[in-house]
């Protein structure tokens, strides 16, 4: 009995070794391209990157991309230090953040959202800035009902918060009524509070809340691409400067930058930049 069990175990182990050997050898892939790609960075890019990986794997089954959604800062660092093949950021690089080859591959619009019952349909960037700094506290001051404004934002350090505060020019002056740790949570909070205002990636917004126009410009793919919608941020992919990317990594980057990826990227709610 025992011998039988040991024999079985040995067989299993042998099979396992064989299988892994196959995998790393890349003999299973159709086009010979193989290897691993490590991606690291902004949580905001997770949805679009996940769809891109899925589509890429259909053509190149031998390549295994993995994505760690850690944050823009960590993504930039990992590309700089070469700990990841591709780093991802959802904000522009700051001074001192060099040592990377950076390409903008998509643009994400931060939609300003209110409760569907709110009569306010348009806000200027100045009004939004005044609301988020606490200078305007009542909806009647921006053409709405006489009701207090519940200002909902993201936590310090998040890419969306950084982009929003930066574009609005209100860093260090924000007065929130509620801070939440994800775009989904902000949308839920706005959907359940008729006095609320919030912001989230255009891709995440459904019909539970209403998007207001900013300076009269709606948040759509067209206004993001032509740059007229003011609250937008780039999705940037980075590789270490001076290091030749592996064949698989280069193929993945080419795929992201190709027209074949346009539909995948737009299905994920952001706009491709070719």
């Amino acid at each position: 009995m025992k011998k039988k069990a040991i024999g079985l175990l040995a067989l299993l182990l042998a099979a396992l070794v064989l299988l892994t050997a196959c995998d790393s050898g890349g003999t299973a892939s159709g086009d010979g391209l193989s290897g691993r790609i490590s991606l690291n960075g902004s949580t905001s890019t997770e949805r679009v990157i996940a769809s891109l990986i899925e589509a890429f794997r259909e053509e190149h089954p031998g390549v295994t991309p993995t994505f760690d959604a850690t944050g823009s800062g960590a993504g930039i660092t990992s590309a700089m230090e070469g700990t990841a093949d591709i780093g991802l950021s959802s904000r522009h690089l700051r001074d001192g953040e060099d040592g990377v080859d950076a390409i903008i591959f998509a643009i994400d619009g931060l939609a300003v959202i209110v409760h569907p019952d709110n009569p306010v349909t348009d806000l200027s960037t100045d009004q939004i800035a005044a609301i988020y700094t606490g200078a305007i506290t009542n909806w009647s001051e921006v053409g709405g009902d006489d009701a207090p404004i519940a200002v909902i934002g993201r936590e310090a350090g998040s890419g969306s918060r950084g982009a929003f505060d930066d574009i609005m020019g209100i860093e260090d002056q924000v007065v929130h009524d509620q801070e939440l740790t994800s775009g989904g949570a902000v949308i839920t909070a706005v959907a359940t509070n008729s006095f609320a205002i919030g912001y989230s990636s255009l891709s995440a917004v459904g019909d539970t809340v209403r998007i207001v126009t900013v300076n009269g410009i709606p948040c759509t793919e067209e206004t993001l691409l032509d740059g007229s919608y003011p609250i937008q941020r780039p999705f940037i992919l980075m590789t270490q400067l001076g290091t030749e990317p592996s064949e698989a990594t280069q193929a993945f980057i080419d795929f992201i930058m190709s027209p074949a990826a346009t539909e995948i990227i737009s299905n994920a709610g952001v706009v491709q930049v070719l």
């Binding site: 310090a156 009524d177 509620q178 839920t188 909070a189 509070n193």
Partner: protein, 299 residues
């Protein structure tokens, strides 16, 4: 006689080996807990001290402003400490009377069949994950609080207190109920014999006799309330203000959870320092719990 003795000898030897082995296994498993606690303590102390030293212990504990990512950052955690204390006290003030009354009802008043039904409900309440408490709080309680008090936002300290007071109920009920059930019947019979009514007996005899156990239940509730993250994160608004019942606030636990995912460098170190402060709080609560339990055994 010899074969029998020899057999016995072998038998005893095997037995000894089994005993020794099992002892080693138990020892090793016991050590796992100790190693875990020691590792966590060492990690928190080693990682938590540097930021506190740089900011200064008093400035860290008594600073009223928290701007971790600002151009001119400030790292004062007094708002978080006070929020944790206020929300815990609030939860205890609401949760203990309800929990204690339920425990009395279950242990002394209810007929067994009804007690079984209520008891199942209490156990179910204990099994609900905190994220579900938070979600229901966010969808149902927060809008309700907002409308009731005509506020801009219902995600305030009060909402967190209400959610926490429900969350600590199961612990308080089950510990208090056990303590009340353990009160010797003779005490109560003596009380009845002296002409006391059932209510008088419960409040003047049973509850005082079980007070150490009830205290242990309360301390357990405090531990749960101060350590809760997820549910509080979803209903408290999470703005680092000095706490006020009708304004959003941020507690020690949520202060860590809010920023940890994006924090780097010094900001991350300060979050670990908050962890160390929280750890000290929990240690104090544990010491009080041990004290309460010991007194319980003596009585």
């Amino acid at each position: 006689m010899r074969p029998y003795n020899a057999f016995l000898g072998v038998h005893m030897k095997t037995k000894n080996i089994v005993e020794k082995t099992m002892q080693a296994v138990f020892f090793a498993l016991g050590m796992v807990t100790i190693i875990a606690v020691a590792t966590i303590s060492a990690f928190l102390i080693i990682n938590g001290i540097p930021a506190i030293r740089e900011i200064g212990l008093w400035a860290f504990l008594s600073g009223q402003e928290w701007r971790s990512t600002g151009a001119n950052p400030a790292f004062g955690i007094l708002p978080f400490i006070l929020t944790s204390i206020y929300s815990t006290i609030g939860a205890i003030l609401i949760g203990v009377p309800i929990g204690l009354m339920t425990a009395i009802f279950l242990a002394k008043v209810a007929n067994p069949r009804l007690a079984a039904v209520v008891n199942t409900a209490v156990e179910l309440l204990a099994g609900i994950p905190s994220v579900v408490y938070g979600f229901v709080g966010m969808i149902v309680l927060v809008p309700l609080v907002q409308r009731t008090f005509a506020l801009a936002s219902g995600a305030i300290l009060l909402s967190a207190i209400l959610v926490l007071s429900v969350m600590i109920l199961p612990g308080i009920i089950s510990v208090s109920r056990t303590a009340l059930a353990a009160v010797p019947r003779e005490y109560e019979e003596a009380s009845f014999a002296l002409g006391a009514t059932k209510t008088e007996t419960i409040f003047k005899v049973s509850v005082p006799a079980a007070k150490s156990g009830i205290a242990a239940g309360v301390v357990l509730g405090i531990g749960r309330a101060i350590g809760e993250v997820m549910a509080v994160l979803m209903v408290m608004g999470n703005v680092p203000n000095m706490p006020n019942l009708f304004e959003p606030a941020r507690s020690l636990t949520t202060a860590i959870a809010m920023e940890l995912s994006y924090a780097t460098g010094f900001q991350r170190q300060t979050l670990l320092s908050i962890g160390l402060v929280l750890f000290c709080f929990i240690m104090m609560i544990n010491l009080i719990l041990n004290f309460a339990l010991k007194r319980g055994y003596k009585a």
